[in-house]
Amino acid sequence: MGISKNSQSIRTVLRDIGLLLHVPGVMALVSLPVCWLSGETYALVPLLTCAIASLAVGQLLYRQTKSQASNRIPYAMATAALGWLLVPLFASIPLLMTANAPNLAPDLSTTILMFQNPWNSIFEAFSGFTSTGLSMAFNYSELPHTIQWWRSLMEWVGGVGVIVLVISLLEPTTEPYQLYNAEGRSQRIGLTLSQTVKRIWWIYVIYTIGSILLFRIVGMNWWEALNHGMTGIATGGFSVSESSIANYGIAVKLAVILVMTLGAISFSAHYEVLRYRKLSAFWADNQHQALWILLSLGTILLWGFHRLANRDVAFIDVLFQWSSALGTCGFSTVSVSDWDGGAKLLMTLIMAIGGAAGSTAGGIKLSRFVIIFKAIVWRFRRVTLLPHEMMRYQLNGKILKEAEASRRVDAAAVLAILWLSISITGVFILQYLKLPNYNLSDVIFEVASATSGVGLSTGITHPDLPWLGKLTLILLMWMGRLEIISALLLLSLPLKILANRK
């Protein structure tokens, strides 16, 4: 009986994975006009292949059973984790096939040719869907338009979440709220989950359109504005311009900083602002207060670091890089590779913390950072407490019960430790690849950038990186996006099955 229940559960997982696989398929179909308008006929077959493959496999998995049994939480997490592995794999098809297309225009630069290597294409797709922004491309502006669009679209969809997209349109068999949680979200901004995800999408679309218009007004052309608007609000950071945002004027830089910061603010705060015109929602709770404090203090600190090192970096660029790291966006205006270890470490710390929970940003998240910070304060206060004196556990202006407070501290601390553990593992692997020209601080920076889904790079992300290094960064981006626990659960399943066989 146990076995039949197990196989039933696995069928439900596969059925929902089938639903998720429709996402890259539909994305490819939506991208066909770009291919046609830009006259890049060589990208047509790759997009169609991606669409047919994803939709066919998706339908096959979806229709293999009419199972209506809802699954328990571990299976929801496995579904999310496996879905997030398979969706980018299917989405790498257009990159790989376009680079290998026989009728590829001969005047294209070598940038696209790097995607002939499947590792690079898969890396790019994972970087896209996890809205990281680390890229295997040398020069973004020389990529075909279809590929530029495809990269931006992956980040845009991935930023808000494949599962959020699916449960706002379709009905998975697994309890949707569990899937929603497994994708690293927990906030509700509506009575029901379907209302919540629909609101998230509305907010997302409104901000995306706003960002595109803003970028157009401050001086980008329509194509650049479209792509940067999509990847900016997704806190992704793929660019279509040579060397990211570096060659734009100050107005564009300020506009991008604004969009990156908006991307780091939670959807529930955006909802309050849009629906009730309560601008104070942007600093009403502790995590958004932390956002503004870290943003301003960190910029000054980083600027001071550069002064101390006698490095001439303009203040606007310091502010830009700092908000890019804090919002886990990954646009850049200057290269961080020649910064000193101290400045890189400071950037690493803020990348690890990341943006607000319930936003498109990655990292440990500000809400957890706040809880851990409070836990330290509480710990000290408890030492001085008299035997019967009541402890004041205050969070977001509310008094928590002791059990609730310690539950939150536990959850945040466990996640922070997990984040550190997988990052340290990643650092060891990359360090022992013995990369020339890169020291330990570069490796730590790159690993934090991947795990938090930032996309700033010291240059380690490069087509010449050995496959093991690429795989390591891919896994870090994947685990980081799912907030680790779902991913670890999926990885532990084979072990569990083996153990049960005895």
Binding site: L386, H388, M390
Partner: protein, 134 residues
């Protein structure tokens, strides 16, 4: 001044906010955790989660440098206990609410200021507001 309030009822909140406005320091002793948290939610005061009958709770709350103890519970015996203990520690002002008027004389004999029957006070005040001339 330093005031210790025993019991966290509706009166206590008014009392705390008045005392805080005057710039006094306040501590509250309450045995019900939910009521204690209610006070904590609104005011930045020290709160002790304990029963007044638990031996050294007043000492823990710093009774030796307290200027007044105010008992506000609905239970006269608890109020009495707070007052007797306060007297032992030599607190200058001892004030209590009282439900049963018959006990008033006994409390006053101990040098405690008593507000008995608060409902009656309210009723009298309400009555005094009526314009009887018309």
């Amino acid at each position: 001044m330093y005031l210790i309030i025993v019991g966290a009822g509706a009166v206590t909140k008014q009392l705390i906010s008045t005392a805080k406005e005057q710039g006094h320091k306040v501590a509250v002793i309450e045995k019900n955790p939910q009521r204690a948290r209610d006070i904590m939610q609104e005011f930045d005061v020290n709160i002790f989660h304990a029963d007044i009958a638990e031996g050294k709770i007043l000492e823990e709350a710093g009774v030796t440098h307290a200027d007044a103890i105010i008992a506000t519970t609905n239970d006269d015996s608890v109020n009495l206990m707070a007052m007797v203990l306060g007297k032992q520690y030599g607190v200058k002002s001892l004030i209590t609410l009282l439900q049963e008027r018959e006990q008033q004389a006994m409390f006053e004999k101990l040098g405690i200021r008593v507000l008995s029957d608060p409902e009656k006070l309210i009723a009298q005040k309400l009555y005094s507001l009526i314009d009887l001339e018309k």
